[in-house]
């Protein structure tokens, strides 16, 4: 992104006589272009303002409780009346995105390194394109695949065996407690839950991060890498001490971009997370994310307060993703060739 300083003045005013009638349109055209650019700014501001206004009734009514409570009760008829606490979905969003990142980041780095270092030249382009195609598959396809193909398999070969396994007493009561309350949670072996959703998310952001990291690795000058090989480094040492440090900042930016995607992803998660509003007890319990809650309930919200609570959740998602994306872009832009 080079800024071109001292553009030659192109305006028709520089000429002694207007050759073309069209120059009267010049200011209008430049105004239109500027207006279009401003529209982008207005969109982001508009999103923020509309979320604040729409979510205000719920935020004002429940205050801090909206962030800390897990009670989500849209029905005025149940004891206690309508109450909305978003802690469950908020935590669910953070956990699924984080687990997805932990699962997919090492593999994404592996794929990117494979494509830049080890892959036979003939296969490099096809595999690179395949990874990019995987990044373009719409998220609803991931969601459907997760629901109909992945969930039954996950239930059959992971969840069911785990549900029947009791930790051997030799490991001590502490481990059994951790196992039952922290890992298994209230496991229902139907293939859905926090971990299942995280895995689908991981599959979804993997190609995206791999493709971005590969682009970054390719910006490392071959001379630098070759000189490292020249002094006898193994590929591992080249990646660890030359490639990764060289692209450090942008690589973190790329990872944050993947995290931003995972945080805001709706369809891939909604199908498979289990849609429970309470705190997830363990990785295998059902849960919900902000996006999945909005997707499930918004069109069928019963009361104005319900709608407002969902929009307030959207505001929280906006704040989280905006922060993550802003950091990501700052880091990525810092290393754009100036």
């Amino acid at each position: 992104m080079t800024s071109v300083p001292a553009e030659p003045p192109l305006s028709g005013r520089a000429q002694s006589r207007p050759v073309s009638r069209g120059s009267t349109f010049d200011p209008i055209f430049s105004f239109l272009c500027g207006a279009a650019a401003t529209l982008l700014l207005a969109t982001l501001t508009g999103v923020m303002i509309s979320l604040v206004i729409g979510g205000w009734p719920a935020l004002a009514k429940f205050g801090v409780g909206f962030l800390t409570s897990t009670r989500w009760n849209p029905s005025p008829d149940i004891a206690g009346g309508e109450f909305y606490g978003g802690a469950g979905p908020i935590l669910g969003t953070l956990i699924t995105a984080f687990v997805a990142l932990v699962l997919s980041l090492p593999i994404a780095i592996g794929v990117a390194v494979f494509l830049t270092e080890f892959c036979p030249r003939v296969l490099r382009r096809p595999i690179g394109i395949a990874v990019e195609l995987l990044a373009g598959v719409p998220s609803i396809v991931y969601g459907m695949w997760g629901l109909f193909v992945f969930a039954p398999l996950f239930s059959q070969i992971v969840e069911t065996p785990l549900a029947y396994w009791t930790p051997p007493p030799a490991l001590g009561p502490g481990f059994a407690d951790f196992w039952n309350n922290g890992v298994i949670g209230d496991l229902v072996p139907n293939g859905s839950g926090i971990l299942a959703a995280s895995i689908i998310l991981a599959i979804m952001i993997l190609p995206f991060m791999a493709a971005t990291l590969r682009e970054l690795f390719l910006t490392v000058p071959p001379k630098v890498r070759e000189s490292a090989y020249g002094v006898g480094c193994t590929p591992l040492e080249v990646v660890m001490s030359v490639t990764l440090p060289y692209v450090q900042r942008s690589a973190i930016g790329a990872v944050m971009l993947g995290l931003g995607r995972a945080l805001g992803e709706t369809m891939a998660v909604t199908f498979i997370i289990g849609n429970a509003h309470n705190f997830p007890k363990g990785l295998f319990s059902g849960g919900s994310t902000i996006a999945s809650t909005i997707a499930n309930e918004f069109a069928e919200a019963t009361t104005p307060l319900h709608t407002s609570a969902l929009i307030a959740l959207g505001l929280i998602l906006f704040i989280i993703t905006f922060a993550v994306l802003a950091i990501a872009r700052t880091l990525l832009n810092a290393q754009r060739p100036a």
Binding site: M1, T2, S3, E7, P8, G12, S20, F25, D26, F29, S30, C33, G34, A36, A37, T38, L40, L44, V47, S50, I53, G54, P106, I107, G110, V111, V113, F114, C119, L133, L134, G136, V137, P138, I140, V141, G143, M144, F148, V149, P152, L153, L206, T234, P235, L236, E237, L263, G264, M267, F298, A299, I311, G314, F318, T321, F322, L325, R329, N333
Partner: protein
């Protein structure tokens, strides 16, 4: 068969963990060759796993969707459970919304990209404003689409239209496509040489004619690529349509302008139909959901491949 594939993936993951362990062990022992061996195995295994994921997803799409692909899918509307039907209204609605969305997005995106590339570097103040806009555009590029849906619901449906509407869905899709078009337009315009701009000025052409007839023409390939990528992105978007365009059992499209060609009302579209049908309890609806997913995937992958073919050509010549 599926279970065996599942076990295969489990074994592959176990191997990945093992090779990562070998690499870590090697690092610990300062055994350079051993550490490297584990690392190489891990990278290769990761690539195999990623390709296996692509194969698994495309494979199950074909296995479940291809059988249901027939003429009725394109000629009949979405059915009640148990009756024969297709996806005609959803396909038409999706195409209509994407086309309207892209029309808006191309106009706004090309103008905004042009401003960023051509007008913003002129003075210090516009350059500063330009970098703000560029940053905002980058954020919008990966902003959660469901938030855009909420925004359109709040700003357009509640305040202006007062009912669910395909037009609102199209505007939501446009908002998702604009950043892509803006970004690619700016990038390709910046690649054009200064001489091109000077040639316009030398002919005495006004700036906007220079931009329109020389720069846009020179950059058209890249701009078309950007528009196609944006189109691919929005054609599978579901979340922003859930509460803007909603869904419609019937084909509401018509040729009446005052009715927004039928978009001025809840409009059927493939992604939302997939969402509703996949979560339903009816087998025939689920089959249609698979067919819809296959159609969307073919469309999106097709556009992506088309983009690669188009953008590969200049390199060869």
């Amino acid at each position: 068969m599926a279970a065996m594939a599942g076990f295969g993936v489990l074994i592959l993951i176990a191997l990945l963990v093992l090779s990562a362990g070998v690499a870590g062990f090697g690092l610990l022992l300062r055994a350079r060759k051993l550490a490297n061996l584990g690392f190489v195995l891990f990278c290769v295994g990761g690539a195999v796993l990623a390709l296996a994921a692509l194969a698994a997803i495309l494979g199950s799409l074909l296995a479940n969707g291809f059988g249901g692909l027939n003429l009725a899918v394109f000629t009949q509307d979405t059915p009640a459970p148990g009756s024969p039907g297709g996806l005609r209204n959803a396909i038409l609605g999706s195409i209509a919304m994407c086309v309207v969305g892209m029309l808006i997005a191309v106009v706004v995106g090309v103008l905004a990209g042009t401003w960023l590339a051509e007008y913003s570097p002129r003075t210090r103040w516009t350059a500063a404003y330009g970098s703000v806009v560029r940053f905002v555009n980058d954020v919008l590029l990966s902003a959660p689409s469901i938030l855009v849906g909420l925004f359109i619901y709040e700003a357009l449906i509640l305040l202006v239209i007062h009912h669910f509407s395909g037009l609102a869905g199209a505007v939501a899709l446009a908002l998702l496509a604009v950043p892509v078009v803006t970004r690619t337009t700016e990038d390709v315009l910046r690649l054009q040489s200064k001489q091109l701009r000077e040639s316009g000025a030398a002919l005495g052409a006004p700036v906007w004619i220079t931009i329109r007839a020389i720069l846009w023409r020179a950059a058209s390939g890249g701009m078309i690529t950007g528009a196609l990528l944006a189109f691919a992105r929005i054609s599978g978007e579901t979340a922003p349509l859930l509460f803007t365009a909603l869904n419609n059992q019937f084909n509401g499209l018509n040729w009446q302008i005052q009715d927004g060609f039928g978009l001025n009302g809840p409009t059927a579209n493939i992604p939302v139909v997939i969402f509703n049908y996949a979560l339903s309890a009816y087998d025939d609806w689920r089959r249609l959901a698979w067919v819809g997913a296959l159609i969307i995937a073919i469309a999106v992958l097709g556009i992506n491949i088309l983009v690669r073919v188009l953008s590969a050509e200049p390199k060869r010549s």
